[in-house]
């Protein structure tokens, strides 16, 4: 294992009513790792990502941030349950950035204001300092000239790049990308992947749920294959994607190469 673990999960389970989506996930994310999570829809890959910054609360198991468990164990009437306080979750999320499939930019703010919002409201930076930092982040994703546009006036690819800048402005230790290109027109996918690749090359720690197998192959340092809420196979991309051991993974990969030319 390389580097210290930033995030770690132990026996993570997630149920939505009768639906048992995650069935015991043990995962360790070391500093500098770029982890791609693959799996067919319903395999639990997005849910796993969303449990790491508590967009979903785990039904069982624990998440550790820098080896400290998130949430407090409380025993009431003999039963032990983990209690997640808003304050603790907010503190974690400040250091873990997330980029959503549907961008979720704030429509009432310009691109610049979107990027400033976290530092301004959560980190309580001054307006001037936040604006200058936000401009640097926008420049990094190639959008300094669109700073004063409202999201509705930006293309999907541009919106997603602003969303990435918004997450980066918090200077997070880990970035979570939840299918960042899945709702983009094909010709806009490249510009977003380009930005993510640049972040990967800087050595940034990231987890990426994606259907872009080629991208995962070239950018990830490790690939996980999820099936029915479990990590079925994991390893470096060359090994996992060129010589998969599990039959399920072989079928999964075959479906993507069916129409290659």
């Amino acid at each position: 294992m390389t580097g210290a673990a930033i995030l770690r999960t132990e026996g993570l389970h997630k149920r939505f009513g009768d639906l048992h989506v995650l069935r015991g996930i043990d995962l360790r994310v070391a500093e500098g790792e770029r982890i791609a999570i693959l799996g067919s829809s319903g395999s639990g890959k997005s849910t796993l990502l969303r449990c790491l910054n508590f967009m979903e609360l785990p039904s069982a198991g624990r998440v550790f941030f820098h080896d400290r468990p998130v949430g407090t164990e409380e025993t009431r009437g003999g039963a032990t349950a983990v209690r997640y306080r808003e304050r603790d979750l907010a503190a974690l999320r400040r250091r873990v950035g997330m980029v959503f499939q549907s961008f979720n930019l704030f429509p009432h703010m310009t691109a610049l204001e979107n990027v400033m919002e976290g530092p301004l409201t959560v980190l309580r930076r001054g307006r001037g300092e936040a604006a200058a930092a936000a401009r640097r982040q926008l420049a990094r994703v190639g959008l300094e000239d669109r700073a004063d546009e409202y999201p509705a006036r930006l293309s999907g690819g541009q919106q997603q790049r602003v969303a990435i800048a918004r997450a980066l402005a918090m200077e997070p230790e880990v970035m979570l990308f939840d299918e960042p290109t899945s709702s983009l027109d094909p010709e806009l996918v490249g510009e977003v992947l380009g930005v993510i690749k640049a972040l990967a090359e800087e050595g940034r720690t990231m987890l990426l749920v994606t259907h872009e197998l080629g991208f995962a192959y070239h950018v990830a340092s490790r690939v996980l294959f999820l099936h029915e809420g479990r990590i079925l196979e994991e390893g470096p991309p060359e090994r996992l994607m060129k010589a998969p051991r599990e039959e399920r993974l072989r079928t999964f990969l075959a479906r993507f190469s069916e129409f290659s030319f």
Partner: protein, 223 residues
């Protein structure tokens, strides 16, 4: 149909009508401001996810929505002094009763607006590390308020007309002044026509202003 219209008494008592109009505007403005504050508090309580906050809010909202405003006025003005030893001026009694009564309606407008903000917006705010207060103030309410303008204006108009009930507490608003003029001049037709015209001019100009405000707000959002 040979009624002889004579607006002379109305014109001669114009200062009384203007004084009444001023009091109507004063009471309306106070009750709207109070109602917006009470409504926001009730809506946030109802949406807090905490039962001990949500249930009292629901009780207040349902009670005031389902009982006549005249009863609320009487209750605050006549019952509070007896039950709690609190004696209020007609203005204060009317302002409090109408604030709470309209707050119950405003609360539902707020709630509908807040709930209409997409889940992704809440998640994006949370993912940045925002807590509930900041999330409401910075992300949810600014978007919700834009969608609430039209129903708010609707309720505010309703409220302005309801202030006429304060005449029953002998509060010197427009309708009360009109009753004074009627008792002097015995010209109810002319006097109440004048009252209708004044209300119409007041609310119609307010409606034009609000239409302009709404157009500006939606320009800002550019959805």
């Amino acid at each position: 149909m040979d009624y002889q219209w004579d607006f002379g008494p109305v014109l001669r008592n114009l200062p009384l009508f203007l004084e009444g109009l001023a009091q109507t505007v004063r009471l309306s403005a106070t009750a709207i401001a109070g109602g917006l504050a009470v409504g926001l508090a009730l809506a946030l309580m109802r949406l807090s996810g905490r039962r001990w906050l949500a249930w009292p809010a629901v009780a207040v909202i349902e009670f005031f929505r389902s009982t006549p405003p005249l009863v609320h006025l009487f209750w605050v003005f006549y019952a509070l002094p007896i039950l709690a030893g609190i004696s209020l001026t007609p203005f204060l009694a009317a302002a409090i009763a109408l604030s709470v009564q309209s707050g119950a309606f405003f609360a539902e407008v707020y709630r509908a607006g807040i709930v209409s903000v997409e889940r992704g917006q809440w998640e994006a705010g949370r993912a940045l590390g925002m807590r509930r207060g900041a999330l409401m103030r910075r992300i949810v309410l600014p978007q919700a308020l834009r969608r609430m303008v039209a129903p708010f204006v609707e309720r505010a108009f309703e409220l302005v007309k309801t202030t006429a009930l304060a005449a029953t507490l002998s509060y010197g608003e427009l309708l009360y002044q009109a009753m004074v003029v009627v008792s002097r001049s015995f010209r109810p037709l002319e006097v109440y026509t004048a009252v209708a015209v004044i209300f119409f001019v007041l609310l119609f100009s307010a409606s034009l202003v609000m239409r302009w405000v709404e157009a500006r707000l939606s320009r800002g959002e550019r959805r």
